[in-house]
C-alpha cells in the first residue's frame, strides 16, 4: 500500500533499524524479567 523510505544519511548504516531492534529486544526482555520477578527495583 505504501512506499517505504529511501535510506538517507542516518539510515545508510541502518543505525535506525539497529536501534529499533535493540530497544524492542531490550524492552521485551525487561518485561519478561519483571514478570518472572527477576528484576524488582525498589
Amino acid at each position: 500500500m505504501f512506499k517505504f523510505a529511501k535510506r538517507g544519511k542516518f539510515l545508510k548504516f541502518r543505525l535506525l533499524d539497529v536501534y529499533i531492534i535493540l530497544v524492542s529486544g531490550a524492552y521485551i526482555l525487561w518485561r519478561i524479567l519483571v514478570l518472572l520477578k527477576i528484576i524488582t527495583l525498589k
Binding site: M1, F2, F4, A5, L15, Y19, I21, S24, T40, L41
Partner: protein, 546 residues
C-alpha cells in the same frame, strides 16, 4: 471578504468537534446549575442534544473530509505492494479492534482504580454543586478550590445519565487522533504513510493506552493543546484562543508551567538568534519564511484579546472562589499569599497544600544527573508488576521514537535550525523533570515528539514500521487485560462496592424527599445524589474547619 462557505470551513472543522463539546458544555453547566436544576445530581439532555445537532451540522458541511480520506486510501491501495498492503490490513485490524474495544468500555460507568481522580473530584465536585444549587465553596473539599473548567464543561454530558458516564472522553481520544493526523498531514506535506503511522503510534503508545476508555482528563488536556496548535497554524484565531484557554486553565499547575515554558522558549529563541540560528521550522521539515513567521506573530497578538476575554469566563469563577477561600487564585499553590482567606480553614488549607506539594515529589527515583540519564530507560518500563515509580511506564513506542528524535534534533541544531515544536518538547520535558515526575504529565511532549519524527519521512523503514506494529499489538493486549473483568457487564454492575451503596442510598434519599446533608467517612462520592459532608480522608483532600 470571505463568503459564508469559507467562514464555515474555517471555523467548523469536524476534527475539532470535541472543542465544541466544551464550548457547549460550559455554559450548559451554569444554566443547569442556576436555572433548570432539579437538585438530584442529574442534568438534562440539553448539552448532548445541542452537541449532536452541531455534529450533524458539521458532518453535512464536511462531507469532503470523509470523501478525501476514502479517496486517499483507494489510491494508495492501488499503488501498494503485497508487503505494504499486508502491513496496512494487519495494522488497520488492530487499530479497529482497539477503537471498538475502547468505545465499548467507555460506555461503562467510572470504577477503575486508575479512574480515582474522576471519582474523587472531576465528577464529584460539579455534581455536589448541582445538588446544592450553589457554586459556593463546599466546606470539606480542597479540590473544590482547584481550577476545574474542563470538569465543569464536561459535567452536563457525564451527568446526563443516572449513573455518570465517561463517553465524552472517548470522543476526545478520537479528537486527539484527528489532531495528530492534522499536524502530521501539515508537516509531512500530506504523506499518507506518515498519517497512517501516527494513528498507529498514538494508539500503540502504552502511556495513552492506559487512559483510553477511562474517565481521566489527561487525553482531553493533550487534545486541547494539539487542537490549539492546529487552529493556530490554520490561522483560526477564535478556535485557537478557546482551545488554548481551556488548556491553560485546565489544572492549577498548568498556567504556571505554561508561562514558565513560554519564557524558557523565548530565552532559547533569543539565544539561538544571537549565535546565528537563521532558519526556523515547526518540526524537522520545511523552513518557515520570515514573512510567514511575522504573519504567525500577528495572529498570536490578535489571539491575545479573545484569550483574555474567554479566560475571564473560563477561569474567573474558580480563581475568585480560590482567592477568597484560600488567599491564592491557584490553590494548592501558596495559600494565604494574597490574604487570609477563610480563617476557619487556614490551617487545614495549609496542610492540604503541603500534602499536595509532598505528593508531587513522591514520583521518580530522584533528581540527580545520574537519575536523569537513567530515567530515559526506567520511565519506559515497569519496575515491578505493571507500574513503575513514574506512576506507569511509557512503553515501547516512546523508546522507538526517542532515538530518531534525538538524532533529528541534534542534526537540526548542528545545521543551526530552530525547530519550534521539538525544542518545545525538550523544554517541557526539562520542566517536568524539576516538577512532579508523573508519566501522564508528559503526554504533550511525547505526542509532539511522535508527530515530529513521523513527519520526517526518512524514518519510515520496514523495521521502524514493524516496531510500531509490535507496540500496537502489545498496547492492544494491555488494554484488553486491563478491562477483561468488565467484558459483558452492564454499567451498573462494574461499580465499586461503596459506589453501589451510594447508588442505593441515593435511591432511598430521593424517594424519601429528603434535603439534609449526609455525613460520610470518605470523599470519592461521584455516585452520591445527595449533599455530602466528608468527615474523614487524606488531609490533601478533606478540609476540617477549626
Amino acid at each position: 471578504m470571505e463568503n459564508t462557505g469559507t467562514v464555515k470551513n474555517h471555523y467548523f472543522k469536524i476534527t475539532h468537534l470535541p472543542t465544541f463539546m466544551l464550548l457547549v458544555g460550559y455554559p450548559a453547566y451554569w444554566t443547569e446549575l442556576f436555572f433548570i436544576n432539579k437538585h438530584d445530581g442529574v442534568t438534562s439532555l440539553s448539552a448532548w442534544v445541542v452537541f449532536l445537532l452541531l455534529a450533524i451540522f458539521f458532518a453535512k458541511n464536511q462531507e469532503n473530509f470523509l470523501r478525501s480520506l476514502f479517496e486517499m486510501l483507494r489510491i494508495q491501495w492501488r499503488r501498494g505492494g503485497l508487503v505494504g498492503n499486508g502491513y496496512f490490513i494487519l495494522s488497520a485490524s488492530v487499530i479497529s479492534f482497539i477503537i471498538l474495544f475502547v468505545c465499548r468500555v467507555s460506555l461503562l460507568s467510572p470504577h477503575l482504580s486508575q479512574e480515582f481522580d474522576a471519582l474523587n473530584y472531576h465528577i464529584t465536585i460539579p455534581r455536589q454543586h448541582l445538588i446544592l444549587g450553589s457554586f459556593g465553596h463546599i466546606p470539606w473539599s480542597a479540590a473544590d478550590l482547584f481550577l476545574l473548567p474542563v470538569d465543569f464543561a464536561l459535567a452536563p454530558y457525564w451527568l446526563a445519565t443516572e449513573l455518570p458516564n465517561k463517553f465524552p472522553q472517548f470522543l476526545f481520544l478520537l479528537g486527539l487522533l484527528a489532531m495528530a493526523v492534522n499536524l502530521v498531514k501539515r508537516f509531512s506535506s500530506s504523506n499518507s504513510l506518515a498519517i497512517f503511522i501516527v494513528v498507529s503510534a498514538v494508539l500503540g503508545s502504552h502511556f495513552i493506552g492506559i487512559q483510553m476508555g477511562t474517565a481521566m482528563l489527561d487525553i482531553v488536556i493533550a487534545y486541547l493543546f494539539l487542537a490549539a496548535i492546529d487552529s493556530f497554524l490554520n490561522r483560526n484565531i477564535l478556535m485557537a484562543s478557546a482551545e488554548f484557554a481551556f488548556f491553560f486553565w485546565s489544572k492549577p499547575f498548568i498556567p504556571l508551567q505554561t508561562v514558565l515554558l513560554f519564557g524558557v522558549m523565548a530565552l532559547i529563541f533569543i539565544t539561538a538568534r544571537i549565535i546565528g540560528f537563521a532558519n526556523v521550522k515547526w518540526c524537522f521539515g520545511r523552513v518557515v519564511g520570515a514573512a510567514e513567521l511575522s504573519g504567525y506573530a500577528r495572529i498570536a497578538r490578535k489571539a491575545a484579546i479573545p484569550f483574555i476575554l474567554l479566560s475571564m469566563f473560563i477561569a474567573g469563577p474558580f480563581m475568585i472562589k480560590s482567592f477568597f477561600c484560600s488567599g491564592t487564585p491557584l490553590f494548592p499553590f501558596a495559600p494565604g499569599i494574597f490574604g487570609s482567606g477563610d480563617t476557619g480553614l487556614r490551617d487545614s488549607l495549609a496542610d492540604s497544600s503541603q500534602a499536595h506539594m509532598n505528593a508531587k515529589d513522591a514520583y521518580g527515583y530522584g533528581k540527580s544527573g545520574l537519575d536523569f540519564l537513567k530515567h530515559f530507560w526506567l520511565i519506559a518500563v515497569p519496575d515491578r508488576g505493571v507500574n513503575n515509580r513514574y506512576d506507569y511506564p511509557l512503553g515501547l513506542n516512546y523508546l522507538i521514537f526517542l532515538g530518531p528524535f534525538i538524532y533529528l534534533l541534534y542534526s537540526a541544531l548542528r545545521k543551526k535550525e530552530f525547530t519550534v515544536l521539538p525544542l518545545f518538547s525538550v523544554a517541557y520535558w526539562l520542566l517536568w523533570w524539576f516538577g512532579s515526575q508523573q508519566s501522564r504529565f508528559l503526554y504533550i511532549p511525547l505526542l509532539l515528539m511522535m508527530i515530529a519524527v513521523v513527519s520526517e519521512t526518512r524514518v519510515h523503514t520496514k523495521v521502524f514500521l514493524a516496531g510500531i506494529f509490535l507496540s500496537l499489538v502489545v498496547t492492544g493486549i494491555s488494554i484488553l487485560r486491563a478491562n477483561k473483568n468488565d467484558l459483558g457487564l452492564r454499567p451498573g454492575e462494574v461499580l465499586r462496592p461503596k459506589d453501589k451503596r451510594l447508588v442505593e442510598m441515593s435511591r432511598d434519599y430521593l424517594a424519601a424527599g429528603r434535603s439534609d446533608t449526609v455525613a460520610l467517612d470518605y470523599y470519592d462520592v461521584a455516585y452520591a445524589r445527595f449533599p455530602v459532608m466528608a468527615t474523614a480522608g487524606e488531609i490533601g483532600w478533606v478540609l476540617k474547619k477549626e
